[in-house]
Symmetry: C2
Subunit: 207 residues, 2 copies
C-alpha cells in the first residue's frame, strides 16, 4: 500500500475524527442512514478501525448524543445569559433557556432526534445520562428562580411543564406537524408566544 506521504498507519485522533464525521453524517443522512462504515470512510480509515474506539454502532451514537446534550446545555445557558437585562431577570432567563433549546434543536435536527430517542434505541451510558441530567437541572433551576417560594411539588410539575412545552413545540415543528407553510419569522413569533404563555403559567401557578 502507498501510504508513506498520505496517511500514517496510526491515525492518532481517530476517536475525535469519528465523532466529527459521524455527526456530519447523521445530519446528512438521518438516523436510519447512519452507517459505521461511512464514518470510517470519511475519517480515512478502514471499516474495522472504529471497533477499537467504539464497541458498536450504538456506542458511537451514544457518544454523539451525550455531546449533543452538553452542547444543548451550553446553548441554553448562553442564550439565557444574553437576555440578562430584561425587566424580570428570572423570567427572562427561563424564556431565554427555552429559546436556546429551540435554537439548538433547529440547528441540529437529526442529532436532536437521536437525543430524543435514546431509550427506544437502547443506548445507555453514564456520560449520556449525566449530560441529559444537566439539561434537566437547567430547567429546574430556571423555574426555581421564577417561583422560589412555591412548594417542591409545584416546582417539579412546573419544570415538567416547561420542559414539555419547549420540547414538544420544537419537536412538532421540526417534524412538519406545526406551521406547514409559515415563514421562519412567523414561526419564531409563534414559538415566542408559546414561551410567554408558558412563563405566565409558571408565574401564576407558583404564586
Amino acid at each position: 500500500m502507498e501510504r508513506s506521504k498520505t496517511q500514517p498507519y496510526h491515525h492518532g485522533q481517530l476517536r475525535e475524527a469519528l465523532v466529527t464525521s459521524g455527526r456530519a453524517l447523521l445530519e446528512e443522512k438521518g438516523i436510519r442512514g447512519f452507517t459505521l462504515r461511512e464514518c470510517a470512510r470519511r475519517a480515512g480509515v478502514s471499516h474495522a478501525a472504529p471497533a477499537y474506539h467504539f464497541a458498536s454502532i450504538d456506542d458511537l451514537l451514544a457518544e454523539l448524543a451525550a455531546r449533543g446534550f452538553d452542547e444543548l446545555a451550553a446553548a441554553m445557558t448562553a442564550e439565557a445569559d444574553r437576555v440578562k437585562g430584561a425587566e424580570d431577570a428570572a423570567t427572562g432567563r427561563l424564556v431565554g433557556q427555552g429559546v436556546g433549546y429551540m435554537a439548538f434543536a433547529a440547528g441540529n435536527p437529526a442529532l436532536f432526534q437521536l437525543m430524543s430517542s435514546r431509550e427506544a434505541n437502547r443506548l445507555d451510558t453514564p456520560a449520556l445520562a449525566a449530560a441529559a441530567d444537566k439539561v434537566r437541572s437547567l430547567h429546574a433551576a430556571a423555574v426555581e428562580a421564577v417561583i422560589p417560594h412555591a412548594s417542591g411539588e409545584i416546582k417539579q410539575r412546573m419544570a415538567d411543564f416547561v420542559g414539555a412545552s419547549v420540547h414538544g413545540f420544537i419537536s412538532l415543528l421540526l417534524d412538519g406537524q406545526i406551521g406547514g407553510k409559515d415563514s421562519s419569522r412567523a414561526l419564531k413569533a409563534r414559538g415566542l408566544s408559546l414561551l410567554s404563555a408558558m412563563a405566565e403559567t409558571v408565574i401564576r401557578t407558583g404564586g
Copy 2:
C-alpha cells in the same frame, strides 16, 4: 417443496399480515431493529414477497405510521367522549383528548416514535399526511370549543400550545427524561396536572 397442507402458494392477505407482523416487530425491536425480512418471516412468506405490496421498507413504515395516526385520532376521540359529563364540557373534551393522546403513545411507544419522526426518515405519503392532519384538526377543534370568541390567531397559537405540551410531556416521559423512579400513579398525576395547567392557560388567554 411440501406446501400442500401447510401453506398455500398465495397468501391472500399478505399486505394485512405484513402490517400486523410489522407493527409487532416494531414494538419489539424498535425502529433501528426493524427489518423487512423478519416481517416476511413472521408472515410465513419468503423474503422477497413483501416487494409486491410495499415498494420499499420505508413504504411499509409509512403505512404503519399512517395507521398509527388513525388509531391515535380514534383514541383521542374515544377518551374525550368518555368524560362527556364534566362540569365544563369543552374543557373536559380538551383534557380528555390529551389523556387519549398520552395513553396511545404510552401503549405504542415505538410506533409513536416512528410517527414523530417521519420527516427525518423521509417518508411521505398522502395517506400519512391525511391521517396526521386529522389529529391536528382534533386539537384545533377542541381549542375552538373552549375559546370560541377568540381571534383566529389566538386559537392557532393555543392549538400549538396544547399540541406541544401534550406531545412534549409524553415524549419526554417515554424517553425516561421525566419522572425517573416515580410510580405509574404519580406520573399520571403529573400528567393530569400538566393538562389542567394547559387548559387553564388556554381559557385565560382566550378570554
